[in-house]
Subunit: 329 residues, 2 copies
Amino acid sequence: MPTWPITIDDVRAAEARIRPHLTPTPLRHYVELDAAIGHEIRVLVKHENHQPTNSFKIRNGLAALTALPAEARKRGVVAATRGNHGMGVAWGGALLGVPVTICVPEGNNPEKNAGMRALGAEVIEEGRDYDVAAGLAFELVEQRGLTAIHSSNNTQVIAGAGTMAMEILTQARAQGHTLDTMVIAVGGGSQAVGALTVLRALEPGVEVYAVQAAGAAAIHDGWHAGAPVTRERADTFADGLATRSCYAATFAALREGLREFITVSDAEIAEALRLALRTTHNLVEGAAVGGLAGLRKLAPRLAGKTVAVIFTGGNIDDATLRAVMNREI
Amino acid sequence: MPTWPITIDDVRAAEARIRPHLTPTPLRHYVELDAAIGHEIRVLVKHENHQPTNSFKIRNGLAALTALPAEARKRGVVAATRGNHGMGVAWGGALLGVPVTICVPEGNNPEKNAGMRALGAEVIEEGRDYDVAAGLAFELVEQRGLTAIHSSNNTQVIAGAGTMAMEILTQARAQGHTLDTMVIAVGGGSQAVGALTVLRALEPGVEVYAVQAAGAAAIHDGWHAGAPVTRERADTFADGLATRSCYAATFAALREGLREFITVSDAEIAEALRLALRTTHNLVEGAAVGGLAGLRKLAPRLAGKTVAVIFTGGNIDDATLRAVMNREI
């Protein structure tokens, strides 16, 4: 696999395929959020929580499905997920008439399972965590003749995620902002590599900082060590960030392209979530404020900059939201 | 004042004035929400919580400001509000360079006050409730030569609210739905009268049901009594619904146009809010789910119908959200 898994033309092609089905999400600026971050930073928030499935993953799923030939669409696809990637694939499958099978770990968020089933997907709940569920998904590829849509290790998925950065650049310019920096949370790395691909082609001066949850920091640790790392566990309430492996399609590009890679604790993610609720009045899940939590930590280094963060999704469950609101996290 | 304060042409003109500044908000259908409502009802949710100020009131404020002659824009405007109307007027004022003064009652939601100040408005906090603040606002009209933008008693405000119903009709049709019914919460009545104006011109078969909070039911009580009623208090956690008077611009039209008018308790509003969070993953304030709470109550009567409700806003404060999540309301 070459360092760079996709090109700007892949992102442009994905953009053209998904645009008939998805309108751009807002890029917003909140004076009160700026005041809370301080250091004269201007924060631009990309509201992927406004997507039909409440998550940016709808771009990835739709980009992957629309790239398939008719024969593969007819046989169907399989994905492994804790929720948002599966929702994106299931939404695209319902739209395009593609049969969708989704593998989730046991004990997966029941609201997310219900959401995928509501879109007509077959949901198989098996395995102790995401990586075990992913293993099962890849068995089904052979057994059932399905096409695999991995949530990160898939070039069309990364191209789909890259469309977000294209929109951010266009919208920031239209609103009169000069973007300096993006701070992006990493689960598998599709957003960060998608953004890096777009930025080095269109705005090479914009720097990208990456953030992982401290309890699920395999990619962060591998990035600093200079070689892929696998961990036994992924412990964070931000389930969209709970990976424990590095991925071949994204690792080398992250190594080459990122300005810096930091971690944030669950307490810092929860604090960012409360800040997002209070200053933007949008419902966000833990993973969605990984970037904002990272920005709070990086703020002294980013003084005076215009920084984009992505509210990647809003699919938080009742119990987790209650725990965050009650400061139990 | 004639029975009908505005015409469909007023709504069309408002639509043309606000469209360059506001993109349509999504109209969404959630299978899980349908399942929770039952009775084979299809629920369409209009996401006004996605507006830049997180509330439909931005339509009203912008419709009113864009209708003003240059001279009045230069002198400035004054509004009374508990928050969302003021945010809409302040946002429009910032956009168009119109000085904005906002009167709020003492102890008003501090996040909403901060939001209006962040948009450059002068916020005056005085008076025990909304109606007292409104009295002060009308003093300032004369003292300072400002134009009053009342949150309901203003034809351009009602026309602005009517643009929402126009969008709902267009979007429902484009999505293949045949709309039967709308269930609309009433604070001052601008949404309901705006919708009635649009529907009787374009889709007279669609019935409108109105809902008020049981603790702030002056318009409901007046509607059933056949004459305006004023109450001493307005007790509901849904602050956007906390009015205690009937308004001349909306009362007669509500009397003539509504199919039925019911009330819901604060407990029922809180239950609807939890349902909205769980099934749609959007942050909503109490007033925003007045319609949904009413739909839950009306469901047996609306079996088999396609029903639109409006999530009018997302500006709930931390303490109220926590109380709702913890089932203290």
